[in-house]
Amino acid sequence: MLEFLKAPVLTFQEFVQLSARASRGVVLKPYYWDDVFTQMDLIGVGSLPVVILTGFFSGAVMALQMSRALQTYGATSQVGMIVAITLVREMGPVLTALMVAGRNSSGMASELGSMKVTEQIDAMRALGTDPVMKLVKPRLLATAVVLPLLTVLADFVGLVGGYIVACVMLPLTTGAQYWNTAWRALGYDDIAQGLLKPFIFAIVLSLVGCFYGMRTTGGTQGVGRATTQAVVVASVWVVVLTFIIGRIFVSM
């Protein structure tokens, strides 16, 4: 039983150590701003299409599915409220994070993993740079800035998706009604929750991606394994964390 637990506990300990070094690194010099902006471009601009698409369709689908239930009560006009709350609180942050986990946590794991197995990480240390500062920190900073922005965008596009469905497919709903109910439904705590979540997800996504990349062993096969693990672990953490954060906000 103890043997069985040893590996995951050790992995978690190493993850915490890396996280501690990276977080301490955030306030220490040196800063490699070039790398930060490159990563922002890669993660932010690069994820735009996929984030916009998922945002749009998740909003549209919400409106479509909820309209059936609302019809029973003759309350189709309230569809804007439902779309707004689910998108801003849950679907926007979680779906965006899952997309970025699939695109970028995997990308970080495979990039750093390839560097690890070809001795580039060792070379980096031998030639005077700390890989945590040069590789992990820029990815952490870039994701932390970019993921909340992507989430806001996904939320907005999702609302537009819901709006189109409400106007075109649902009877008894006007555009003005849709936006009106959506606007009134949102409180400040929804916005706070909707922005806090992507920020925390960003930290987890980037650190998990870098962590699995940096501990890669065993050649190309190892790189593939690290990539898969990074995506799986990052995605699981996203859904677990969204529950925990949601629980805290609900009880407040």
Partner: protein
């Protein structure tokens, strides 16, 4: 004042690495003095690369003590290691070139990043070119490592190792997987790198000829080739080390090396 030639650059004192059943390095002790050449032979997995990684502080020793440049570095925190590493040049087994950087950026990397060096930015470019000319690859500045052949990549690795003019040079299998002609060229470059600046050199290799060239030849500044070591008391002060299963099986001069009776050691000596 002690003779600077007698000053030990690298000391391993009873160093081990590994835990419980997995011991990869057992009680390794040796001293390397300034200007000496150390040639390390050994079967695959005998701990040669590990030895270099410990000397660079890329891995911490489990027990024993390591001294570099007169400083005890056994428990040195990572941040302070960077100062020590800026005095060491290293060529990794696979070259360790950054494949997303050009050759110029690769060779310039230690100049721009080694904190202790503080090279003004306008001096980086000439130094990079000088170092690449040294390995006769001055025309490859804008290329990427993937565009070069294996031997050329190894030479870029050497250029990157010597660009900071380090006092200690570590080469991990510089000739592995190369054809004999390219391999001899690489070794000639290593001799040149050693003799032009008088750097202390550690080299891990599978080929007996590599050690022989390093021991018996010096770089000839007049014609740019190699010349046999003169008889006027000049010596490359070369020693041989043979590793076996993480321990030192042999350490000594070439005469003892060639005469060693141990069948494992004899496999690496010329006969």
């Amino acid at each position: 004042m002690s003779n600077p030639q007698e000053e030990p650059i690298l000391i391993f004192d009873d160093v081990s690495f590994g835990f419980d059943d997995n011991v990869f390095l057992r009680q390794v002790s040796f001293e390397l003095r300034r200007g000496e050449t150390l040639i390390i032979h050994g079967a695959a997995g005998s701990g040669k690369t590990l030895l270099l990684k410990l000397a660079l502080g890329l891995l911490p020793a489990t027990s024993g003590r390591i001294h570099l440049f007169g400083q005890d570095v056994t428990r040195l925190p990572e941040r302070e290691w960077f100062d020590v590493r800026s005095r060491i040049g290293v060529l990794f087994q696979e070259g360790g070139l950054f494949d997303s950087f050009t050759i110029e950026e690769n060779v310039g990397y230690p100049l721009l990043n080694q904190r202790l060096l503080k090279i003004p930015e306008e001096q980086v470019q000439p130094k990079v070119e000088q170092s690449l000319d040294f390995v006769e690859l001055g025309h490859t500045l804008e290329k990427f490592p993937s565009e070069l052949s294996g031997g050329m990549r190894r030479r870029v690795g050497i250029a990157r190792a010597i660009v900071t003019q380090p006092e200690l040079l570590l080469y991990d299998s510089p000739t592995a997987g190369l054809d004999p002609i390219t391999a001899n060229n690489i070794i000639a470059l290593i001799v040149k790198g050693r003799d032009v600046r008088g750097a202390t050199t550690v080299i891990v290799t599978h080929r007996h000829q590599d050690g022989e060239i390093l021991e018996r030849y010096r770089y000839n500044e007049k014609d740019g080739g190699l010349r046999p070591v003169g008889s006027n008391g000049d010596s490359t002060r070369t020693r041989y080390m043979v590793m076996k299963e993480g321990a030192i099986a042999f350490l000594g001069a070439s005469f003892d090396f060639d005469c060693c009776k141990d069948p494992y050691v004899a496999k690496f000596a010329s006969r």
